[in-house]
Point group: C2
């Protein structure tokens, strides 16, 4: 059958909808080292899949422990992806290049076209699908700035599954938009810390107006899941299955670059928990590990939460209340104070284990940016390409611009690709601060990390 | 050359980017009657193209008076369209159909994917392009809720033309998002009424906190244009050229339905000034006037501003301060009070002359909806299709749903198409009111219209 894919080096590439991948890629069996097991927070013993089934849907636990390289995408999820719509375009940022006067070529994967404006539904849809298929009657989760929460609320409404979402109080108050979005999809949104859980009550006792944090919201969601009948916890990032689902981004991107007959020299993107960037690069990392390509990978994080640039690769809790297993990852510590930055999606203290390992092994580099430099990049992008990037995505964009400027000096014609994981139309107050010169930078003075388990 | 267009009755149709139309369609020579001339507001004499060149860019004046059926799209505008991106998808709303249990098929044209979230750049881009090409140094305009203003600001930044935009004060205060968006694109935004103009000062004297209206903002923009060196006024809707530019929507839709081998039975959409809906249907109206198809056209307006359902087809001013020419159109009167509690957009008192004539001649029907019914439709759409429609677009969606429900009763398998002219991610406060049951309906008790010129 004839393909309807379209490629033009000046504009980018659009895939034939029939060429939307039918499988996700799981990097775990290809990693240069075995991932360290998650440990029971009390006994410090390695945990197996059975230990997770009370908290997560079965199929997701299976994927979490999977040693298979490829997972079939269920037909209903494939159909839902199609309607997001996927495949998403790979776009040439030609006007940005012209503005920078660079010989480099800049392409970006445009993940901002989903109904909620980010790539989050790539994992929220299958998670909601598997939960519904298992016959569960409630999905519970948490959200910081609301990107994950709104994607999950949409996905649960898609598969007709009730959802309850704990939203970090300060985000809920400062950016009511995403809360309204979740409610419009029919989800129940609870400000965290809340009186719904013991953990929440503890923090409310300390401070009745406690601003909350992602770590606390995770603790509440987990406690509530164990307390609620026939419910499971659906999580945004970091876990192997969330990263696997997001490889739909990179698998499409790979096909698109093949259509353009290009191998990107550099691939950059932002890291919060790490799922969007991992999803973007893992199909390329697979090729690099097989020595078929020599692409450089650069993960970009905020200086306010410098997990991979100033944190440690060690065991730490995934939540604040120390309820979750201990995970071997880059972290600035699970008691890290909520950083005052606008990229709400990048506030999390830890990073995905597989990505952490790849950074530790120097297969993926990482860099940290202060937010004023990030918004400067976002403003340039808006004025040239017309697109308002999410504060999160703008971290990857910043690196793309800096690399293009280096090429201007050296004359190199590198191909630079970044993942535009979302738009910033619900983050305009941050742009307003930047426009008015009110945005300030912040970074932690020192990061004192407790060692929970001696690193192997 | 092989086409890369894709069509599937279950999903919709995507056009090959190379098939993006190269010409706009101008309905004027095909209208069943000649359009009445615009009249000088003081002498009531018919105005010619020369009378407009001090206010509008030359090429736009030429298009306004054009009797040609087709206008070439300049290469730079075609390229800009491509990068919006265009062509936009035609989408099957299959999940909505399933929810409604209707035998009807519902398709929508997805205009929400532009950087500003609406179809407005379709005209803002060529307007900014022509202004820049003429060597002008400033574009001036006005905006209500900010859809047009943000599209114009983006387009002016695209073609590197400074922009000054008068924004209705109450919108600027209630919905700061679009103001920030305009500023992010580098435009100067002035709350209207302002002390910048005589008109503005007059209203500020009456009430220092005057909420403003679109009619007043138009008056200010026009006064400022005449007072400013080498500037012209770029306008959102109603004029023939704005409608012509928007036919890019309908021309694509026509190709897409041809690919699907479908002739839509009903095409509906919302009308404010009338440009998005005209752009959507005019290429089909052309075929209907030639008796090649028998599609039914239904224009949807709010009951709060019932121009075509309770207003008159007569001469009226386009602005509040009576500075503009008199235009023969459907109107509720240029002194129509701003509806007090209206969240649904579409507040302008008049409608485009060509569309008004087609409604008057019963070639296009019209219907008015109260906003609670409109948001009910939007909520159903969000819960089924996942997409948050703009309150404006939801008027067309409401008709599509009602027609699909009629088909459920009669068993008819009609194909219903509506234009989803924008998303509602910057209108979430209105959704919040609806979610909380706080949204109320309002409609004018009576509409007393002055006759300015005896209707011919």
């Amino acid at each position: 059958m004839q393909s309807h894919s379209y490629a033009d080096k000046n504009y980018g590439a659009l895939l034939d909808p029939e060429d939307l991948p039918r499988q996700w890629y799981n990097i775990v069996p290809d990693l240069p080292e075995k991932l360290e097991p998650m440990l029971n927070p009390h006994t410090h013993e390695a945990m197996g899949s059975k230990d997770f089934e009370a908290l997560f849907p079965k199929e997701l636990v299976k994927q979490q422990f999977s040693q298979e390289s490829w997972w079939d995408i269920p037909e209903q999820v494939w159909d839902a992806y199609r309607r997001l719509p996927r495949p998403s375009p790979l776009v040439r940022a030609k006007r940005l290049e012209e503005y920078l006067k660079t010989p480099a070529k800049i392409y970006y994967k445009a993940e901002q076209f989903t109904p909620v404006g980010s790539m989050k539904p790539n994992s929220a849809l299958p998670q909601a699908f598997y939960a519904k298929k298992q016959g569960l009657s409630l999905a519970i989760s948490e959200t910081g700035a609301g990107q994950w929460g709104s994607a999950l609320a949409m996905s649960c409404s898609w598969f007709r599954l009730p959802a309850r979402i704990y939203m970090v109080r300060v985000s809920s108050r400062q950016k009511p938009g995403r809360k309204i979005l979740m409610e419009t999809y029919g989800a129940q949104v609870i400000e965290s810390p809340s009186a719904n859980t013991k953990v929440g009550k503890r923090f409310l006792t300390e401070d009745p107006n406690h601003p909350g944090s992602l770590g606390i919201a995770i603790s509440e969601a987990i406690e509530d899941t164990f307390a609620s009948q026939n419910s499971r916890y659906l999580l945004a990032s970091a876990f192997n299955y969330a990263l696997g689902h997001q490889t739909i981004i990179g698998l499409e991107t790979l096909k698109q670059f093949e259509l353009l007959d290009i191998i990107p020299d550099v691939m950059c993107g932002c890291i919060g928990g790490g799922s969007n960037y991992s999803g973007f690069i893992y199909p390329f990392v697979r090729k690099k590990l097989r020595k078929k390509i020599d692409t450089e990978f650069v993960a970009c994080e905020p200086k306010a939460v410098p997990s991979t640039t100033k944190g440690q690769f060690t065991y730490d809790y995934a939540d604040t209340a120390e309820q979750t297993p201990l995970v071997k990852m880059y972290t600035v510590g699970h008691d890290f104070a909520n950083p005052p930055i606008h990229a709400g999606g990048l506030r999390y203290h830890g990073k995905a284990p597989s990505l952490s390992l790849l950074i530790h092994k120097k297969i993926v580099k990482s860099i940290a940016y202060p937010q004023t430099k990030v918004f400067e990049a976002a403003k340039i992008f808006a004025m040239t390409e017309g697109v308002i990037t999410a504060p999160e995505s703008s971290h990857g964009l910043r690196y793309a611009i800096d690399e293009a400027l280096r090429c201007k000096k050296t004359g190199e014609k590198k191909v630079i690709a970044f993942n535009n994981c979302g738009h910033g139309l619900l983050d305009l107050s941050a742009y307003d601060e930047y426009n008015k010169g009110k945005l300030v930078d912040w970074e932690p003075k020192e990061i004192a990390l407790k060692q929970y388990v001696t690193s192997n």
